[in-house]
């Protein structure tokens, strides 16, 4: 009797603990969107940092860039891979948006999925959106 009770209890416990996995098995979830590389970004192949570093650290990179541009007037970034970039989010050919032309598919796809609301675009403008 006691043994049966313990085994049943254990089974219920294991089922309950693993419930997120069961839940995911029966329901379908949207896969995380991949940032799409289009146009010039697709041809260039090389970004400022390597892909995974960029995914994890692009916000600190932008922060660093802003301080360099506004405070030290340094506007050119010579990356570790030898390429040079214009340290700007949205202005000029060699800036972030200059290469990643489609903001909706590059920035917004992931930010929307992860519910991140960076306030970049309250001031910075997307050249494509200006009529």
């Amino acid at each position: 009797m006691t043994k049966n009770m313990i085994v049943t209890g254990l089974a219920v416990f294991v089922l309950a603990v693993l419930s997120p996995f069961w839940f995911n098995l029966v329901t379908t979830t949207q896969a995380a969107p991949e940032p799409e590389l289009l146009g010039r970004a697709k041809e260039a192949k090389k970004c400022v940092l390597d892909k995974y570093d960029m995914r994890a650290n692009h916000m600190s990179l932008l922060d660093e860039w802003r301080d360099a541009v506004v405070r030290d007037a340094d506007r050119i970034y010579v990356a570790a891979n030898g390429h040079t970039f214009n340290m700007s989010l949205s202005t000029g050919e060699n800036s972030c948006l200059g290469c990643h032309e489609d903001k909706a598919k590059f920035c917004d796809a992931c930010h929307t999925y992860t519910s991140v609301n960076p306030y970049c675009w309250e001031c910075h403008t997307n050249p494509k959106e200006i009529q």
Binding site: W65, A68, R71, R75, V78, T91, H124
Partner: protein, 273 residues
Amino acid sequence: MEKSRRRFLKVAGIAAIGLGAAPAMNFAAKDAHGPAAASKVKNEAALHAERWGMVIDIKKIDAKLAKKITRACHAHHNVPDFTHEVDEQLFPDTRPVNHTQEIKWIWKEKFHYAFPDKEDEFLNEKFHHLPFLVLCNHCKNAPCVQACPTQATFSREDGIVIMDYHRCIGCRFCMAACPYGSRSFNFRDPRPFIDETDPDFPTRSKGVVEKCNLCAERLAKGEQPHCVEASEGAIVVGDLEDPESNVRKLLKEHYTIRRKQTLGTEPSVYYIV
């Protein structure tokens, strides 16, 4: 093998050292060839100065030219104009405009407002009608820089008093500190009131202060500021610390005045009158 407490402690100690060694070695290895390879540099064409200054020749400016200069500056820096008709389709929820609100970087001012300490009962009549263009003076001892609690406003190495709009919290201490009224506050989102947005310069957002930046973004590309380009030779910028510079030559040749000099802010904008 004999089991004793002493022996167990020895083995455990050695194992702990071994576990700690790996992260320490990784850390040391990372430092040796880390992200040091990347560097940030200036554009080769960038204009340099020990301390930027400006000379405005008022004799060469009439009301029409003053308007053109203001327009050139404001259009390229996306400065809102609250008399601008709002596009109802793009900005459907825009509240009615208060027409007394203004945001300005460079504008026409009357002599007795620009130079209150030089106002005189018997002043030459012509001074009352000249369009004095006023803007941020990029002071050597800028009171706005001292007032800013977040270091959003600061004096750059080359003397330009500039703002990092990201850091501005909208406290407006700088506006109270500035004796020249060179700063404007965005009481509302400026975007509906920008006629044509220039993609080469960001707009501002609600709740930040803004002012002239001496076209730092253009000097960095080796270009002259917008006001200088539009002024047909009436405005000149250059290095105040270089005795051979164009501004120093003008200062040598002409009698010049500065705004509210007695306050000791050491303005960098000179007027030939």
